[in-house]
């Protein structure tokens, strides 16, 4: 792989073809630091890499990534063999730099890159997805609220965790009876991309189960198509043969549908624990949208994303080796005081956060947006494209707002259960940072 990327021009995802870089030779000396160590790494006075894998990080990463951001903007983590990038401009520069840094598919983390094709970007698939999400966003939320008790619920597990998967089942057009089993398999397959070996084996098994399950569905939709996403995939005319159940499973796996769980849970966690902001956000739908955007900035569920250097490249005063793993910390970037005033405060109508969908370099109207991974990449296309549905970023945002509106309409006097002390945490290092217990009290309207 490496030799191919060195010798052949690299086409970034934006379609820009990058000319081959000349190899650096000759007597010239570079002036910045290069370290490598036999057994241990570059020492840093203010933080140890072990702190970045500690239970403290899992519970509250913000104080630790602040140390990195303010002292070691490109931290060489020898223990985990990676580089941490933490300042807002640096993180967004990597994120926008397809020529030098690549993201890798979930299949890569499984070590099965040939398993199937990712068909998420096919226009008919995008269209079916957008149509079904828009069509079911409200009714799925209402169905879930119907299942609540009259006065109390755990908003995290009974609503936020279920909503994205119930919605995904509608998008795919799955029979209602299958949703529970499907959601279990989906969740296991997603967790399997983790570093944890047992989760990975279990996830691999779940992926195979999903393929088995999709086989019959795909056949059925091929003979009698509907307007769901599986029908769209079944009907695709692809250069290298019609879509298979494996392609379908891969397409479903690569979409990070469960991150909406984190976004919803974090949003409601923040609203319910910030009374003034709650009042503000619930006063009009526009402000509810801003509350969602501010949530993703203040407490993004996906703390960081991984990028790999396509070749040896100079960045941030360092030489990044080919294949170098970059941990782009959204948590750190989103609390960067160079970009956001009083970054640790949750302010729904923040003046320095862009309100439109950011394009390209993560800015719109001269303002920065929160860096959020896994909740739909902001579109590179026009805001209202003619040839494709609006971006997944926009669709996810609108869905979250719709679901939240349903909660507000149906749950009168919604407030935190007295005495409850909800908090955010990751179940496992590297997984979503979100709320798992959010007990609330209300009077349900029918």
């Amino acid at each position: 792989m490496a030799s191919a990327t060195i010798n052949a021009p690299v086409a970034g995802r934006n379609g820009v073809v990058i000319a081959q870089r000349p190899k650096t030779t000759g007597p010239g000396y570079r002036t910045y630091e290069i370290h490598q160590r036999e057994r241990v790494g570059e020492s840093t006075e203010k933080i140890k890499p072990t702190q970045l894998i500690s239970p403290a990080y899992r519970r509250d990463p913000y104080p630790l990534v602040e140390v990195l951001r303010e002292n070691y903007p490109c931290f060489r983590d020898w223990a985990s063999n990676c580089y941490w990038v933490t300042q807002y401009d640096d993180v967004t520069s990597i994120y926008a730099d397809d020529a030098n840094f690549e993201s890798r598919s979930k299949l890569w983390y499984y070590g099965i890159e040939d398993f199937g094709r990712d068909l998420r970007d096919e226009i008919p698939v995008l269209e079916a997805q957008a149509r079904r999400i828009d069509g079911f966003a409200e009714s799925v939320a209402n169905d879930l609220v119907d299942q609540f008790d009259a006065h109390s619920a755990n908003l995290a597990t009974e609503f936020a965790a279920r909503y994205p998967l119930e919605l995904l089942a509608k998008v795919l057009g799955l029979p209602a009876d299958d949703v529970g089993e499907f959601a279990g398999r989906y969740w296991r397959a997603q967790r399997g991309t983790s570093w944890e070996p047992t989760l990975q084996v279990d996830g691999r098994r779940a992926l195979d189960e999903l393929v088995d399950y999709f086989e019959a569905l795909l056949q059925a939709r091929r003979s009698s198509p509907g307007d769901d996403m599986i029908s769209a995939i079944a009907g695709l005319e692809l250069a290298d043969g019609p879509a298979t159940a494996r392609d379908l499973a891969v397409t479903v796996l690569e979409g990070d549908h469960q991150t909406l769980h984190g976004a919803l849970a974090n949003m409601w966690f923040l609203l319910l624990t910030h009374h003034d902001e709650f009042t503000k956000a619930t006063s009009e739908r526009r402000l509810l949208k801003l509350a969602y955007l501010e949530t993703l900035r203040h407490s993004t569920p996906v703390l960081s994303a991984q990028r790999f250097a396509r070749h040896e490249v100079e960045r941030f005063g360092r030489l990044i080796p080919e294949g170098g793993l970059m941990i782009c910390s959204a948590a750190a970037a989103n609390r960067d005081p160079r970009i956001f005033d009083d970054p640790d405060s949750f302010v729904v109508d923040r003046k320095d956060l862009c309100q439109r969908e950011p394009r390209g370099m993560y800015r719109a109207d001269g303002l920065a947006s929160g860096v959020t991974f896994g909740l739909g990449k902001p579109s590179k296309h026009p805001a209202v494209p003619e040839d494709r549905p609006r971006s997944l970023y926009a669709i996810t945002r609108d869905t979250a707002v719709t679901a939240s509106s349903v909660l507000l309409e149906r749950l009168e006097g919604l407030k935190l259960e007295p005495g409850a002390t909800p908090y955010l945490t990751s179940l496992l290092l590297g997984e979503m940072h979100t709320c798992w217990k959010l007990p609330v009290h209300f009077n349900k309207r029918s």
């Binding site: 000759g26 570079r30 002036t31 057994r39 140890k48 890499p49 070996p197 080796p321």
Partner: protein, 426 residues
């Protein structure tokens, strides 16, 4: 379509950061060897190699595995921010590495080494004199850490009256190699103190070189260029630390094994001092000072059906390979009379005329430890000298917490924390 996948005993990769692993890595090594000979550690973004012949194979294969992180012959300036300063450890499999290594490697073997033997004798005697009347000794601080550093500083021609200061410095330097915090601040401080101390000597000996090692390093030419003052300083720091600390720990480990692991063989060594050599070899197999070496792939490599992509990080567990039951009988037994281990001097090919496998403790190939002969001589000579002066050797305490690696927050090598021993003067 689903099939059961047997992953053997689950290895949670966080174990590698645990105290349990620092204390006793051997059960994990065995699980790795038996079930995951090429373990993809996703948590640490690396692959782990643990069987003897796999470790050997990686060491021998310079084409596929590089010690360095960057393109091997790139024009880089290395290590000016290292606790040691710029030094040879920073280089990969490059020609630069070969040239630098060739300057010094010759100083530690053959006649050059033999010239230093009387000095090792003399220094051992001086160190022993300090505690011989006390009837007990804490080996790590009073003996093992004292001898090698004095030998090195003597080779470098540094003033003998400052030797105690060097001991202090190198211990701080080694601790400063770790992952940070207070250790680093102290390490950097010690480095700066040492550099200030040594700077005028380097300038003086560059002009008026003597026969000592420091002069030779100062005037040695690489491609027509001498090393810069900074590079010489880095080299000296490396020699003090790498040449001093590893041998220090090797001596302590040998005594630990004789006192606690195999007290019966302590008697053999007392009766036959030549066995110190074999004791050294078996120690380097059983639980060597350095347990891990790192490499990066230069191309896609497949080991035991696991595909390591180009530029993947690979950790070689020498300590695991040394206990490979595929190579050594009863590998978990410490035995200085072992017949399936090459007992004599090591060499960088790792192949011996007696056809027996050697230990992996010094590495193999291009980055084979260049102080191998010196470490062995220093250890064997100083221990034999000590044994001549004492009798009725016994551990002061019946129980010992054992050998342990330092926490990954501080640098350092595997050794006992303390080792108290009682004796009668001979």
């Amino acid at each position: 379509m689903s099939e059961a996948v047997d992953i053997g005993p689950n290895i949670d990769p966080r174990i590698f950061d645990s105290e349990e692993f620092q204390r006793d890595p051997f059960p994990i090594y065995k699980a790795l060897r038996d079930y995951h000979p090429c373990f993809h550690d996703r948590f640490h973004n690396r692959w782990v190699i643990s069987r003897y012949w796999d470790v050997d194979g990686v060491f021998q294969d310079n084409e596929s595995f590089d010690r360095g992180v960057y393109e091997p012959d790139g024009p880089y300036e290395f290590g000016t921010n290292h606790v040691f300063g710029p030094n040879i450890l920073e280089y990969g499999n490059s020609n630069e590495h070969r040239r630098l290594r060739n300057i010094v490697a010759g100083q530690f073997v053959g006649q050059k080494l033999n010239d230093f033997m009387p000095m090792i004798d003399q220094i051992s005697a001086e160190v022993i004199d300090r505690f011989i009347d006390q009837g007990e000794v804490e080996m790590t601080t009073q003996f093992s850490s004292q001898v090698p550093i004095r030998v090195i500083s003597n080779m470098l021609g540094l003033p003998r009256e400052d030797e105690d200061t060097f001991v202090e410095w190198y211990q701080l330097l080694i601790a400063g190699l770790g992952f940070g915090g207070e250790h680093m601040a102290r390490g950097i401080q010690a480095r700066n103190d040492m550099w200030d101390y040594i700077d005028p000597m380097i300038r003086e000996r560059s002009k008026n070189p003597g026969e000592d090692l420091l002069s030779r390093i100062c005037v040695a030419e690489i491609d027509g260029n001498r090393m810069s003052v900074e590079e010489v300083k880095g080299f000296v720091a490396l020699l003090l630390a790498a040449g001093g600390d590893t041998t220090d720990k090797a001596i302590a480990n040998m005594w630990y094994h004789l006192l606690y692991t195999r007290p019966d063989q302590l008697q053999d060594v007392i009766e036959t001092p030549e066995l110190w050599d074999d004791c050294f070899t078996e120690m380097m197999r059983f639980d060597p000072v350095v347990h891990a070496q790192f490499r990066r792939t230069t191309r896609e490599v497949v080991i035991h059906d696991e595909v390591i992509p180009a530029r993947g990080g690979v950790v070689l567990y020498l300590g695991a390979g040394n206990r490979d039951e595929r190579v050594f009988k009863d590998p978990d037994t410490f035995d200085i009379r072992r017949e399936d281990l090459h007992m004599g001097r090591e060499n960088r090919s790792g192949r011996y005329k007696d056809g027996k496998p050697g230990h992996l403790g010094f590495g193999i190939g291009q980055h084979f430890c260049m102080g191998y002969a010196m470490a062995r001589q220093e250890s064997a000579i100083s221990c034999a000298r000590l044994m001549e002066r004492i009798k009725n050797v016994r551990p002061k305490f019946a129980d010992h917490p054992g050998i342990s690696s330092p926490s990954i927050d501080s640098g350092g090598f595997r050794s006992p924390q303390e080792l108290w021993m009682e004796f009668d003067p001979a």
